[in-house]
Each structure stands twice: as C-alpha cells, then as structure tokens.
C-alpha cells in the first residue's frame, strides 16, 4: 500500500517545527522558574489530584471554552467548535487510520491525509453498518462541526454584537495571515477529501462523498491533478500555520495548557516578573473580551491600550510607555478575561521596569512614638482631602467607646500604594517600613482604615501580625456586637463598589449589609465584580483630566439611573471624584453610619448653618 506522497512534506516539516518550538518554549518556561516555583511544580505534577484537576480544566477551558459559553453561548460554541472539533479530528482520525494499518507507529501525516491513501468503495448495502463506514460518518460530522464554527467566525467579523462583543481586537498583519491559514485548513480538507472521494467513487462519508460527486460533475476535465492541487493546498496551509503559530496569537493553545498546570501547582506571579508572567503573556488568545470590559474604551474612547494590546506588546518585547501607564488598574479586564490572566500584575511589572530608576528622599519623616491603643485608625491621604470621613469615624469611635488612636491625624504618611501603582516599589517599601514600625508600636490588635487603597496594600504588602479591616467591615462588626445602635433614615441610596475594595479586596457584602440597616439600598446597574471605576484611579498615570471626567460622568450615569437620594461609596477617592460631577449628594458609608446614630440627626440639624453665621456675633 502506498503510504507516501510528496505533498505531505510541507505539513510534516511544519509539524516537526511546531513540536520542536513548543518543547523549547516549555523547557525555557520551566527552566527559568524561580527555585521555589520549581519545587512547587515538581511536587504538583507528582500529586494525582492536582494533575487530574489540571487535565479537567484544560478540557473545560481549552477545549469546551466554558468561560466563553458563560459570557455568550454563540461565542462559546464558535471557539468550542474550533478547539474541540480539531482535537476530535486528530484523535478520531488516528483511530480510523489504525483500521487500515496495523502498526502502532504510523507516520504522523498518515491519519491527516488518510483519505488520500484510502478510498475504498462501499459495495454492499450492509457495509454502511461496518466500522470503516462508521468512522467516515463520524469524521465528516466532526468536520462539519468545525466548519460551522468557521461560518460563525465569518459572521462575527460583521456582527460581533451577536457574539456579545461590541468591539473586537484590531489584529496585527501577522496574526491576520496566521488566521487566514487556520481558516483555510478546514475548507481545504473538505475539498481535498471530497474531490478524492468523488474522483475514486468511494472513501467519503455523507458530506465528502456527496460533495465530491458534485465537484467532479461540475469540474471540467476532472483529473487526479485537481485532487493533488487540493491535497497540496491542504498540506501547505497546515504547514504554514504551524510555522507561523509560535509567534502568533495561536501560541496561546499550548501555553494555556502549561499555565493551567502551573496554576494548579500553586505558582503565582512574581513582583518583578518571572517566566510565569511570560507564560501568561503567551496564553493570551487576543480574543478581545477585555476591550469591551475596559472603561477607557467605552467611556473615554481610548482604544489602543487595552490588556490585549498591552500583552501583545509584552510578547513582542516592545510596550510603548503610554500603553503601560494608561490604565486604571481597576481589574475589570482581569475579571472578564476567559483565560484568567492577571493583567494588573503584568501591567505593574512593566511599570516597575519603567519607574524604578527614580530616587525619592523621605528623610523628612520624623520618628516618634505614636502612643498605645486597642484600635489603630489610619485615615489615609485621600481621607484628608475628604475630612468629613475621618470626622465621622472619630464620632463613631467615641460613640462606641473604642480606645483608638488616629495614627495619621496630623502627619499623614502615604501607605505606599500610589507609588507602587507608578512602579516605584523601592520608594514605597521605605514608607511601608516606616509605617510598620509606627503601627507595631501602638500594640493595637486591629488596624482600621478608611481607604480601600490603603486596605489593599496593608493586607498584601505589610505582613502585619494584627487584623486589618476596612471601615465598612469594622462598622458592621460594631453594629453586630451591639456597640453602636443605628436608626434607618430610609433614604434611597445606591452603593458604588470601589475597585480596590471590591475586585481588589473582595469585600462586597459588608457595606451592603451595613447600608441595608440604615437606608433603603437600591441596586446599581453595574455592581460588585462588574462595578465601574469612578475615574479617579491613581493607577491612571498619563491621561488628561478631560478623559477622566468622561469616565466619571459615564460611571455616574449608570449609578444614578434609578435616581437615588444619595450615592454612597466606601472610598475617599471615589467620593472626591464623583463629587466633582454628581448632581446627587455623594457620601461615604462612614458618614452614613455616623448620621444614623440616634440623636445625631437633631444635633446636626441645629448646627447646619452657614459657617459665617457661626462666627460669634
């Protein structure tokens, strides 16, 4: 039996190239892992439950595309038909080839081009119930499955909205060429198999056999040459695709598999980057889901900095500075990413490269003992711009009889996170060390902060031996412990989730529960993990104020849709930012709680006069 033809060479060459390339990539990623991560990987791959969990996720995400299904069924089906369909074509094709060849060691091209080598006819009626006919049917069916995805992919070019996407990725020329190769593979296979089946009068299934008959009938001067042309084309696009793949978006296929294994072994991104981050960058499929999630896109019309373009820049090792710096680090794209890439950490790694050169002088910070207390309160610099928040907190502390210490009452020292967002970690660490000493000296058991930005950095970077709470958690605890009694004002309020408290700190429930006790809370259009950034993000480093204003106004439109009496947030920066544009009163949750202490309201009404009139007459 003939088992070779020259046209298999392009495919075979491509296959050798891609296998070699993937092995090299895997080897480099694993070899470059920090020692601790290598240990994690080694023990992880020996742990059957972790291996199983990885395989399960590879199947669910890599082949079925579960997270895309959840986002939009049409989008999920499209990706699934390509991934699962192609996978099945390879696996089932391999099984099919074994019927015709007993050896276990077939040439890799043999199953791929099987229909070129095998074209036996069905002579008798009952033969349609035989194993070969069954395989022909199945293989045709799978091919049809893949082609249905291809049709959807074409439709998606024009009608992306049907697929739940408003804006799609603007791909590079290289990616578009690779994509064209990928898209050509399956029609070429269909044509090659069909024409061959038609020409030889057998060997095809319900799809290829019938299409083949038609093709032979309509092609003038039908000849084996035409079949060759199709087989050569099929092999060439396959080979070309494999050669282009390592530098294209499709490298995400092998990368994501390894990434899933790494994650299941407990490997985390490193502050200054590691091969894990490089692997993450390669795992981006450039699907563009992050573009729609990004407020800079839909609210401010900035369309070239989204995660997909930033990560593409990382892979090409040229990230323009403005792409690295124009980002709110709000975490919305990270939340939407179907691959689960930690985009924010990638962005910060890049910023560290850019920002680490500068020097700061903190010699003006004075040492001194802050005093002792049970609870240490850190308002944060932003709260100093919204003094009604610390004033409310102090009122509540006094009402509850808490032995507290206002650590940054007069000399606020930055928590360090704004510097970290700008990539200046070394400078931030100086502040962190300074603050740590102060906090330790108080011998407090609990640190309460009014600022989610501080809250995040206290938890993630400070390594403090005491509890850390944002004031929304703390106030709820005070209420639950019966240390403060509150009276609902029955005002209609909407709650805005600050980025660093919600997506950054995973605190969604405490503020809602608290507000439920003191007001009539109405839901926001986009909330919790889907909440919008107020536009004041400290992470947005080089964007004009006008653009930030657009972000704020857009977020306000969503928040105030139901015309609440008050817009409540739990972050001084959000409050400050919204106050600039909001026609509706903006308040912090601490102010709301302070006002809900019975007796407070009357006292406040009496005092709510113009300050000028308060000057003694």
């Amino acid at each position: 039996m003939i088992k070779f033809n020259l046209f298999v060479l392009p495919f075979s060459f491509g296959l050798v190239f891609i296998v070699y390339s993937i092995v090299i990539h895997y080897y480099r990623w694993i070899k470059a892992l920090p020692a601790v991560d290598k240990v994690k990987l080694a023990s992880g791959v020996r742990n059957p439950s972790k291996v199983l969990a990885s395989l399960k996720e590879i199947f669910l995400e890599g082949l079925l595309h579960r997270s895309l299904w959840k986002r939009n069924p049409l989008l999920g089906y499209m990706h699934m038909s390509f991934a699962l369909g192609w996978f099945l074509l390879i696996v089932v094709g391999n099984l099919e080839s074994r019927i015709y060849h007993g050896s276990h060691i077939n040439a890799p091209y043999y199953p791929i081009f099987l229909k070129f080598f095998i074209h036996d006819r069905l002579v008798l009626f009952f033969e349609i119930f035989t194993v070969p006919a069954f395989f022909r049917f199945i293989m045709d069916f799978i091919l049809l499955f893949v082609l249905s995805g291809l049709v959807l992919a074409f439709i998606k070019r024009k009608k992306s909205k049907w697929f739940g996407m408003t804006k799609t990725t603007n791909h590079s020329l290289y990616d578009r060429i690779t994509l064209s190769c990928l898209w050509l593979i399956f029609p070429m296979r269909l044509l090659a198999e069909s024409y061959t089946a038609g020409y030889f009068g057998g060997g095809g299934g319900f799809l290829t056999q019938n299409l083949g008959k038609l093709l032979v009938a309509i092609t003038p001067g039908s000849s084996e040459m035409i079949a060759y042309f199709f087989w050569w084309s099929y092999s060439l696009v396959l080979g070309l695709f494999f050669i282009l793949m390592p530098n294209s978006r499709y490298m995400h296929i092998p990368s994501e598999m390894l990434l899933i294994v790494f994650r299941h072994c407990g490997i985390q991104p490193k502050k200054w980057g590691s091969s894990f981050s490089s692997l993450e960058a390669h795992s981006c499929s450039r699907c563009g889901v992050c573009i729609d999630a990004c407020q800079l896109n839909f609210a401010a019309g900035i369309t070239n900095i989204q995660a997909v373009y930033f990560i593409r820049g990382l892979r090409e090792q040229c990230v323009p500075e403005n792409i690295a710096l124009t980002c709110m680090v709000c975490g919305r794209c990270q939340e939407a990413c179907p691959v689960g890439i930690k985009v924010d950490s990638l962005r910060l790694i890049k910023r560290r490269e850019i920002g680490s050169g500068q020097v700061s002088d903190f010699s003006y910070l004075k040492n001194g003992h802050p005093g002792f207390a049970d609870v240490v309160y850190f308002a944060g610099c932003m709260s100093h711009l919204t003094p009604s928040i610390p004033i409310a907190m102090e009122g509540i502390f006094k009402e509850a009889g808490v032995n507290y210490l206002f650590l940054d009452r007069s000399g606020s020292i930055c928590c360090g996170r704004p510097l970290m967002l700008a990539g200046k970690d070394k400078q931030a660490n100086e502040l962190i060390e300074f603050n740590k000493i102060l906090i330790r000296q108080t011998r407090a058991k609990l640190l309460v902060t009014s600022c989610p930005i501080c809250y995040k950095v206290f938890r993630e970077e400070y390594n403090l031996p005491i509890r850390i709470q944002h004031h929304s958690q703390y106030l709820l605890e005070l209420v639950k412990d019966g240390r403060i009694a509150l009276q609902s004002q029955h005002r209609r309020v909407v709650y805005h989730d600050p980025c660093d408290l919600g997506r950054g700190g995973n605190i969604y429930e405490a503020p809602r529960e608290l507000l439920g006790k003191i007001s009539d809370l109405v839901p926001a259009v986009k909330e919790c993990a889907d909440a919008l950034c107020c536009g004041g993000s400290l992470g947005l480093l080089n964007t004009p104020v006008k653009k930030k204003d657009e972000l704020t106004k857009n977020a306000l439109e969503y928040l105030l849709k139901d015309r609440p009496d008050i817009l409540v947030t739990a972050c001084p920066l959000c409050k400050k930012t919204f106050s600039k544009h909001s026609g509706t009163e903006v308040r912090d949750i601490a102010e709301m709680v302070h006002d809900a202490i019975p007796g407070r309201l009357i006292r406040k009404t009496l005092a709510a006069k113009e300050p000028a009139r308060l000057l003694a007459d």
Binding site: Y364, H384, L385, T386, P387, S388, I391, R409, S410, Q489, V545, D549, D565, K576, S579, K580, H581, E585, L601, K604, T605, A608, E610, P611, A612, L614, L615, A616, D617
Partner: protein, 368 residues
C-alpha cells in the same frame, strides 16, 4: 412696542444697562429672580482698589433706574421669539417660609424647597439683554479645605458680610483671630474642580481683605497663599505693595493642599512654600477662601432656551470676543457682564453702557 427692552438679571450689569436704556427713552423691564436687585455687589462692603463703599456704586446705578419697570422675584421660565420681538415668561416666586406646608427637617440633603411658584407673567419686548452674571464657586466642593465642616473656615463673601455688619470679626470660639490665612484661587485655575480659568478679581480682593483685617487687628498675622498674583488693573499693584510694606501681610507662594481642625477649633494648613521648595505646616485661627466665579445657575437654562453657545467653562460665548462682545449672534439678544466670564465691577459698568448704546442703535436701525 417700538422701544421696549427686557433685561434679565438685576445685578450691577443689568441695573446699569437698564438705566442707560431708560435714559435713552426706552421702555425697560428688568426681571430679577431674587427679592432685591443689586446682585453680588449688594452683599459686598467695600470695593477694590480704592475701598469705595459698594452701596454707593449701587445707589448710583439705582439713581438711573427711576424709569425702569423692576420686577423682582421673577424667574424666567420660558422665552419665545416672533416677528415683533420676544416674549419672556416668568414665574413669580415667593419664599417657601411664607407658604404654609410641611417643613423638611433633613439637613444637608440639598433638596430643600426654598421657593414656590405663585403664578406666571408674560413680558413682550423688541430686544433682550442677558445679564445673569455669575455665582460664587461652591467652596464645599473643595472638601479638603473644610468649608461647611470646620467652623473657622469662611469664604471671602462671608467675610464681606461680616465687614458690612460692622461688628468685630471673631473666631467661632469668640476670640480675636491672631493668625488669619487667605487662600487664593479657590475653584479657579483648578482642573480638579473642572475650572481651568482665572477668576481675575480674587487676587486683588484677597489683598484688600488682608489689609482690612490688619486695620481691624494690627497685631494679627495675615498670610496669603497664592499661585501668582495677577494685579492687572490700575492701582492694584500699589495695593499689593501697600499690603506688604505698610501692613506687613505675608504672601506665600503655594497652593493649599489640605486643612484639618485642632480640638481648639484652630485650622492646620498643609501647603508648600514653592519659593523655598519646602513643605509647610501652619496653624491659623481663621481661614478665608477666595471663592472664584462660576456661571450663574440660570445661565445654562436661559442659554438653552435661546440656543446660545457656551464655552467649555460654561460661560456664554459672544458673537466675537473682540469686536462684537455684546452681541449674542441672535438679532435682538444682547449680552452683558459676567455671564461672559469673570469681570470686575468697573468693567461690568463699562460693558453695560456699551450694550445699551448698541441696543439703542439696533432698535433705531433694525440692524444688529
């Protein structure tokens, strides 16, 4: 109908314009939404640079308005125009306190109903003068300065009110302030509150008020925190020199960052002395915020009714800022005063007279 004009806004601009128009024999109706004419000038004690009594300027303007039909408490609710001219509809408003009804006790809600419409009136005229003026920047928006939160933080307008009352100016604790701070550019030249423009007159107001505080309390220390001092008109620079040389007022170049309150009610300021390049912390007994100009609340509404163009700063754009600064682009609609941007009183008076002259010519010739 021949020579009829409606002036919207009864501040110094609208008063001067209507007086000048009446002087030329026109029938003028002035619509003012407040209970009294006089606008911001009526709330001011003395004016820069010569410390003239604001009341005298108003008296002079009122003198010329004897033949003007002044309607106060009239808020414009609609404007229509037709071949004969314009019809302005205004609701007559009266204070809520005079209307029986449930009183809202909720403070700080910002939604107290102050006035209740009592009826509507129509006024018809061949030409309109828009003189809605400006509002003072709401200093509460700079929450970090503590206005409305700390008792010893007041605005320049609050201070003028105190000057006007003739009483001693004391802190909320009833003490004579030993240290007084003036903060320039509150709500002006500040992208963070959305106002990029300079309000022009606050610099010299700050200098004038600093001198007045020194006159009242010669031993008090007075500090002005400024970005730069724009002494643009005649005698202004001399006043600035006087403040330094005669009165010993200190000028510190640096924008105020934030304030905090001490338990004794004094105010801690955090700023930077940008001439020495050092962060600065200081305690004062009284802090005065020099609030800038913002477009009057009615400007957007009335500009919308007429389809007038406004700049990104919210002020109304004239047909040409050099040669047709009193024309709106709509025949018969004239613009005067601070609705076109920050302006001093003397400039407002000159602008109003120019408007009256052009308007008279328009009514005579029928051409804008």
């Amino acid at each position: 109908m021949e020579n009829t004009v409606i002036v919207i806004g009864g501040g110094i601009s609208g008063m001067t314009a209507s007086g000048m128009l009446a002087l030329q024999g026109m029938k003028v109706t002035l619509l003012e939404k407040e209970a009294e004419t006089g606008g911001h000038v009526a709330r001011w004690d003395r004016l820069f640079p010569d410390r003239k009594k604001a009341a005298e300027v108003l008296d002079f303007a009122r003198e010329g308005m004897k033949n003007v039909n002044v309607v106060t408490g009239a808020e414009v609710t609609g404007i229509s125009w037709h071949d004969k001219g314009f019809t302005v509809t205004s609701g007559i408003m009266q204070p809520a306190s005079s209307v029986p009804g449930p009183e809202s006790l909720i403070a700080n809600s910002g939604s107290l109903i102050n006035e209740i419409a009592a009826g509507e009136s129509n006024y018809t005229a061949r030409a309109l003068v828009l003189a809605m003026g400006f509002d003072l920047f709401e200093a509460r928006k700079k929450e970090e300065y503590g206005y409305g939160i700390y008792n010893n933080v007041i605005t320049s307008a609050d201070l003028e009110e105190k000057f006007k009352s003739g009483k001693d100016i004391l802190t909320s604790e009833g003490k004579i302030p030993a240290r007084i701070g003036f903060v320039h550019c509150v709500g002006s030249r500040d992208e963070k509150v959305g106002n990029l423009y300079c309000s022009k007159v606050c610099c010299v107001t700050g200098v004038k008020q600093a001198i007045e505080m020194k006159e009242m309390y010669p031993s008090a220390e007075v500090f002005n925190f400024y970005m730069d001092l724009r002494m643009f008109d005649r005698h202004f620079e001399e006043l600035y020199y006087e403040a330094q040389q005669k009165w010993g007022v200190s000028f510190i170049r640096g924008r105020l960052a934030e304030c905090a309150e001490n338990p004794d009610g004094t105010i801690i300021l955090k700023t930077e002395d940008t001439l020495t390049g050092k962060p600065l912390k200081m305690t004062v007994d009284l802090l005065v915020l020099l609030s800038g100009f913002v477009p009057a609340s009615g400007t957007a509404k009335i500009a919308g009714m007429l389809g007038l163009q406004r700049g990104t700063d919210g002020f109304v754009n004239s047909a040409d800022s050099h040669s047709m600064n009193n024309l709106s682009g709509i025949p018969g609609v004239f613009l005067t005063g601070a609705l076109k941007g920050p302006i001093s009183i003397s400039e407002a008076i000159a602008d109003a007279r120019a408007t009256a002259l052009l308007l008279a010519d328009y009514l005579k010739s029928g051409k804008p």
